[in-house]
């Protein structure tokens, strides 16, 4: 088969690949998006309104199928009886890890990638985050600062449609917000109490979400069915399928090719440029090449790096563009599963109507103004106050008519939860490599992941339980249950790093515009590029970096410098 030729190649159609496709096509480049997985048809695949009694196990999940085919994916709650189809088959997509270093790699291979079932939380960084590596001597200094990315956050936020409350916090900058859903009665009272008792240091604010509260860009406002990870027929939350891919298609310059597993990047050592990518058709397993002037790798952090590790040449024997030796290293996730839940004593005469997919956020308060003695960096809390409803029945004492009446006629008390999400330090010794003995269903060498949380993360997680308990005590909660679970990394599904940006080609893979130092017409704008991970949910930052990198690549193309 002769190679197909385009102006630009985008590998992956998830949250950053969709943005690369939109920006490249809107700048006039004929662009092919190569997606390893299947196409998605919202009319068929979105199942957010399918009720439990329409599912065979009423939502308890097809446990034995998951145990057999998705033993890794099944560790995440979203891989349920509705949405397990959006997560990969682990048998077809193997990877390995040392027995004592488990890593749960949660993946989605379909058009839209994980943007279909992502968490939709969007928070900007500040220079507290961008300067942390340089201040504290971990990893390398970010080559950019807040001012470099702020206009690009604004740019993408306006298109995405984000609800949020302006708080004027220097360390969690406000963005371009639609009016958020209000806090519920219990959350509002909790906000007021905590603001007073912690002197404004701990703030319960409305979750900043890529979920519309107003119609926007041809998409309808959210109807609050509450099951975003199953799809959205009104396109109310942001995903590639709902937003960026339609915009790219509208230009007439998009070619979207599903079932296209990218094997490697093809490198011309004379021109010192990539000429294209080698692709395996997922169905026929036939190999073919696609050529282009510029390539954007957006296959997800570890997949993009895997492609480069599989693209070794005599000049780059340890992976294409790996003259620094840092390709594959500095893998990060966040750390979660630290916090507390408690029963609130008030607002029993109030209820909520509508199912918010996410509710509140408590921005980082550790190591902001004062230094914590036990750990560097910080964490934020996601959470909510909600009434348990009938779910409480299995744990509630009693049976009979009164028991039934209580479950059908009352909602139970308000339960408030704070779930921490903390920053993981970049460490060279957390890395991915090719497993010499393992290939995937298409014969492509698979990854071996070597990654553990350090004491810094573990101490931070312990503090999550402490500070969440403090807040619940301040609220007068009863039955406070602190928690600290021993989850392996990966499960937060915020894996980042392995091809970091930096200021020096000797210590980083990408420059300040996400451009590979060694192969200038290859850009990586998914999570692989991150030099640190802050504690904020990362996707909106990938989007902003992608739009900025495309703009830069376009300038270079116009100047014939690529």
């Amino acid at each position: 088969m002769p190679p197909m030729t385009y102006d630009a190649i985008v590998v992956g159609s998830g949250i950053s690949g969709g943005w690369a496709a939109k920006e490249l096509t809107e700048k006039g480049l004929r662009t092919i998006v190569l997606e390893a997985g299947r196409p998605i048809d919202p009319a068929v695949d979105y199942v957010e309104h399918v009720l439990p009694w329409e599912k065979r196990y009423r939502g308890m999940g097809d446990r034995k199928q998951v145990e057999r085919y998705q033993p890794i994916q099944g560790h995440t709650g979203a891989c349920d009886e509705w949405s397990s189809k959006f997560f990969v088959n682990d048998l077809d997509n193997p990877y390995s890890f040392p027995e004592d270093k488990p890593f749960y790699w949660i993946r989605g291979r379909q058009v839209g990638g994980r943007s279909i079932m992502w968490g939709r939380c969007v928070y900007r960084w500040s220079d507290l985050d961008f300067t942390a590596n340089a201040r504290e001597g971990y990893g390398v200094d970010w080559p950019i600062r807040y001012k470099d990315l702020a206009p690009w956050w604004s740019y993408v936020e306006k298109f995405v449609g984000i609800q949020g409350r302006r708080e004027n916090l220097a360390h969690l900058p406000d963005g371009e917000f639609q009016t958020p859903w209000p806090l519920n009665a219990a959350e509002q009272k909790a906000r007021d109490i905590l603001l007073e008792k912690f002197g404004g240091e701990r703030v319960i604010t409305n979750a900043r979400l890529a979920v519309l509260t107003e119609d926007h860009g041809g998409r309808q406002k959210c109807h609050l069915c509450g099951h975003c990870a199953r799809g959205c027929i009104t396109l109310s939350y942001f995903s590639s399928i709902n937003s960026t891919l339609p915009a790219a298609r509208k230009t007439g310059r998009l070619t979207l090719r599903p079932f296209s597993v990218v094997h490697s990047v093809i490198y011309d050592p004379v021109k010192r440029r990539a000429t294209g990518v080698r692709v395996i058709d997922a169905n026929t397993k036939q190999m073919f090449d696609v050529n282009a002037k510029v390539i954007f790798l957006n296959a997800s952090a570890m997949e993009s790096t895997r492609i480069l590790l599989n693209s070794a040449t005599s000049e780059f024997p340890n992976g294409l563009g790996n003259s620094s030796g840092e390709l594959g290293h500095n893998l990060m996730d966040h750390i979660m599963a630290g916090g507390a839940t408690g029963t609130l004593p008030w607002a029993r005469d109030r209820r909520e109507i509508g199912n918010r997919p996410d509710a509140i956020y408590v921005p980082r308060f550790r190591n902001v103004k004062t230094k914590h003695p036990d750990f560097l960096r910080g964490y934020g809390f996601e959470g909510r106050a909600e009434r348990a409803g009938w779910d409480r029945g299995s744990e509630m004492p009693g049976f009979g008519a009164e028991f039934k009446k209580s479950l059908t006629g009352d909602l139970g008390p308000w339960e408030m939860s704070f779930d921490g999400f903390g920053e993981m330090l970049p460490r060279h010794e957390n890395y991915i490599e090719l497993d010499p003995h393992l290939v995937d269903a298409w014969g492509i060498p698979a990854l071996r992941v070597n990654c553990v949380y350090s004491d810094n993360e573990k101490k931070m997680q312990a503090d999550m339980a402490v500070s969440a308990t403090e807040m619940l005590e301040a609220l007068g909660a009863t039955n406070i249950r602190p928690f600290k679970e021993d989850n392996p990394p990966g499960l937060v599904i915020h894996e980042t790093g392995t091809a970091r940006m930096g200021r020096d080609p000797k210590t980083s893979v990408l420059n300040g515009h996400n451009q590979m130092w060694d192969v200038p017409n290859v850009f990586i704008t998914d999570g692989a590029c991150m030099a640190s991970t802050a504690n904020q949910n990362p996707s909106i930052t990938y989007m902003a970096l992608t739009a900025r990198a495309v703009d830069y690549a376009h300038q270079l193309l116009n100047r014939r410098e690529l």
């Binding site: 009319a43 859903w181 029993r348 909520e352």
Partner: protein, 183 residues
Amino acid sequence: MRRREVVQFLGAALALPFIPRGAEAAMKLGAELHLRLGDVPFRTLNREQQALVTTIAEMIIPETETPGATSVKVPEFIDLILTEWASDDERAAFLAGLRDIDTRAGAMGSTRFAALPASKKVELMTALDAARGDKTGAGLAFARLKALTVYGYFTSQRVDQEILKVQMYFNGYQGNVPFTPAV
């Protein structure tokens, strides 16, 4: 609101990219895939176990002015979970716990739980409810039976539509609505 109604209700969305194709086909497929639990025979619980599970489930959520556990086929749901969902060990532990419940009924002067007089049933159920934290035996079986009864009941079609009246479409979120419990 059913998916068909939702799709109609959201007619404006049908003009958007990707949406129109296959909506009817999708709903037809969903209907075909939907398993009618009432058509499935018991496959794990024998007649005596069925009687025990049914008696206890109905005592947990009895028929009042609204349906009870039996009329929304909770015992059939429990059998499905035992047959297809539970591990071999979990199934064995549950069935052993059922035997233990009947053994305890025997100590109260009956051959099995279902044959106890009503007051004795309540007495034993109260004891079992207090033993839900047990790792084996009657307490464990009762804990699982209770959890599955509550779950199976509230996720049934009738309860969803007649009692919970589950809504799938809201015109905005309200977080501070007056509420008076109906208890």
